[in-house]
């Protein structure tokens, strides 16, 4: 086959990823499917802060100190940044096993368990016992066809196995796992502080105004541009939102602080993995609160292994496409399922030249390199693992 230039749209790996995620910005952003509550979160935060900056801040900056809106702005920006990081990043999804790997593991399982006679159901959960100082059981995930690492769990909403799975948070529109737990924690922490801050200064605002012009007059005051809306209504609205947010978010922050100090996940806490007389103690805790906090919040951050922005090798031959069960258009069937580096080149023919090193730079390779040739398409080293 001669070299062909394919003038077709570049297909990136995120388009063929299994699981129930939504991707935006050409694979840079990764979220769960249901995003409605996330939009509500955004609306509440932005709305309340907008009202605060527009009305109370103007008065307080003049009367008390200009540092008040500045500090509020810093808190607000930090909360937004961490929220978006939590929502848009890969929580630590474990890619599904390629057919080769799955078959290999199944063979191993059959070797240990013996084949199941026809007509009988296989044992419900296949466990692999590994010895730590205590015995840790690895569960086999039927969807992903892998043995889940310890602390990983399968999220039924997103249909992915996630490392160090904490929980699926609809407010944030994503799972919370190994890679975005620190962002999630910092988000709820900064949101708590922001809520307390706004709540306090709203009270201060009403108090100050009442001192000056009396409480009743404060209630009747209207801002210039909204003749029909009393200023107090807005303030009261903010106070109400802050009040309800306080109870939930501050409580949640407290709970997660507890979890971080003990190096546990919500999932483990709910299941009671480490509590109870007959259960093992948490082997992941360092025993020291400070050390646990440091590891969870400041520890090394593994990059995403999903390679969402890698380019799927397109091939002209329809025969190949038909043979591929997932309907992806890569040369070799097993490669397409597994998002990761140059998964397509795992098949023999692609290993031409040196083994391409996945470049983990954040720079993206230009799309025009996607020239599919009948020969070995040299993949652009576009792992696009920009931190999201």
């Amino acid at each position: 086959m001669s070299v062909m230039v394919a003038r077709k749209k570049v297909v990136r790996k995120w388009e063929k990823l299994p699981g129930r995620n939504t991707f935006c910005c050409d694979g840079r952003i990764m979220m769960a499917r249901q995003k409605g509550i996330f939009y509500l979160t955004l609306f509440l935060i932005l709305g309340t802060c907008a009202l605060f900056f527009a009305f109370e801040c103007r008065y307080l900056a003049v009367q008390l100190s200009p540092a008040i809106p500045v500090f509020a702005a810093v808190l607000f920006l930090f909360a937004m940044a961490t929220l978006l990081r939590t929502s848009f990043s890969d929580p630590g999804v474990i890619p599904r096993a390629l057919p080769d790997e799955a078959a290999f593991i199944e063979m191993e399982i059959e070797a240990t368990n013996g084949t199941v006679p026809q007509g009988q159901r296989p044992p419900p959960r296949i466990k692999n016992f590994q010895i730590n100082n205590q015995i840790v059981k690895l569960k086999y995930c039927y969807t992903c066809k892998i043995f889940r690492p310890p602390r990983a769990s399968h999220c039924s909403i997103c249909d992915n196995c996630v490392e160090r799975f904490d929980h699926h948070c609809p407010w944030v529109g994503n799972c919370v796992g190994k890679r975005n737990y620190r962002y999630f924690y910092l988000f709820i922490l900064s949101l708590s502080l922001l809520t307390i801050y706004i709540f306090t200064f709203n009270i201060v605002y009403v108090a100050l105004k009442s001192l000056k012009i009396g409480f009743l007059n404060t209630l009747k005051e209207t801002p210039g541009t909204y003749p029909s809306t009393s200023l107090t209504v807005l303030t009261v609205l903010e106070v109400l939102i802050c009040f309800f947010t306080l109870w939930s978010v501050v409580g949640l922050t407290g709970f997660h602080t507890f979890l971080v100090a003990l190096n546990q996940t919500t999932n483990e806490d709910i299941k009671g993995s480490w509590t109870g007389k007959n259960r093992v103690q948490n082997p992941y805790s360092h025993g020291n609160i400070v050390k646990n906090c440091c590891e969870v919040l400041c520890g090394p951050l593994p990059p995403s292994v999903l390679d969402r922005r890698g380019i799927l090798q397109q091939e002209e031959s329809t025969a190949q496409e038909e043979s591929c069960p997932r309907g992806c258009s890569t040369q070799e069937p097993p490669a397409a399922q597994g998002p990761g580096g140059q998964a397509e080149e795992s098949s023999a023919q692609q290993k031409d030249g040196s083994v391409p090193a996945p470049s983990l730079s954040n720079a993206e390779m230009p799309e025009e390199k996607q020239l599919t040739s009948g020969e070995l398409p040299v993949p652009p080293q576009d792992t696009g693992q920009a931190e999201h």
Partner: protein, 165 residues
């Protein structure tokens, strides 16, 4: 384009994928990324045991270095937090730097040790850090001795003809 390219090309042309071996993760030390150094029986005739073990041990060392919890990783974490993680837009994390070292190492090992023996290592990063995949090639000229024990699914999944063009 170095001589290495030719040797791997020749490997592909003359060899077909026989089977794949998957070296699993070793969780005896917790959730850190380590691979089992147990020598797979399928490689018995293809490569010396200590070469294989050395490769896996070096890889384990790299991963341990990437995930090391210490002063510098805390510093990086705190600095990133202080900048609301915007610094990740322009800076590479320590982990990513080590992963680059790892892929260079694997490339080197493939060129020097594994390709001449008809084997190929795949970077675990491409397999979601679950396994080290070792592809075993059979020379078309030599007859038999492909691992008959393994079911056809593995060779089928390997995607048949290497020479597919």
């Amino acid at each position: 384009a170095t001589p290495q390219v030719h040797s791997l090309q020749e490997l592909r042309r003359s060899a077909s994928l026989a089977t794949k071996v998957f070296v699993q993760r070793d969780y005896s030390d917790g959730t850190t990324c380590q691979f089992q150094t147990k020598f797979p029986p399928e490689l018995e005739s293809r490569i010396e045991r200590q070469l294989f073990e050395e490769t896996v041990k070096t890889l384990n060392g790299f991963y341990a270095e990437a995930e090391k919890i210490g002063g510098s990783s805390y510093l990086e974490g705190c600095l990133a937090c202080a900048t609301a993680y915007f610094i990740f837009l322009c800076m590479e994390t320590h982990y990513e730097k080590v992963l680059k070292k790892i892929s260079k190492y694997i490339q080197e090992q493939n060129e020097k040790i594994y390709a001449p023996r008809g084997l190929l290592l795949t970077d675990p990063l491409e397999r979601g850090m679950r396994v080290i995949e070792i592809s075993i090639y059979e020379d078309r000229c030599s007859s038999g001795s492909s691992s008959s024990g393994s079911s056809s699914s593995s060779s089928g999944g390997g995607g048949g003809g290497a020479g597919g063009r």
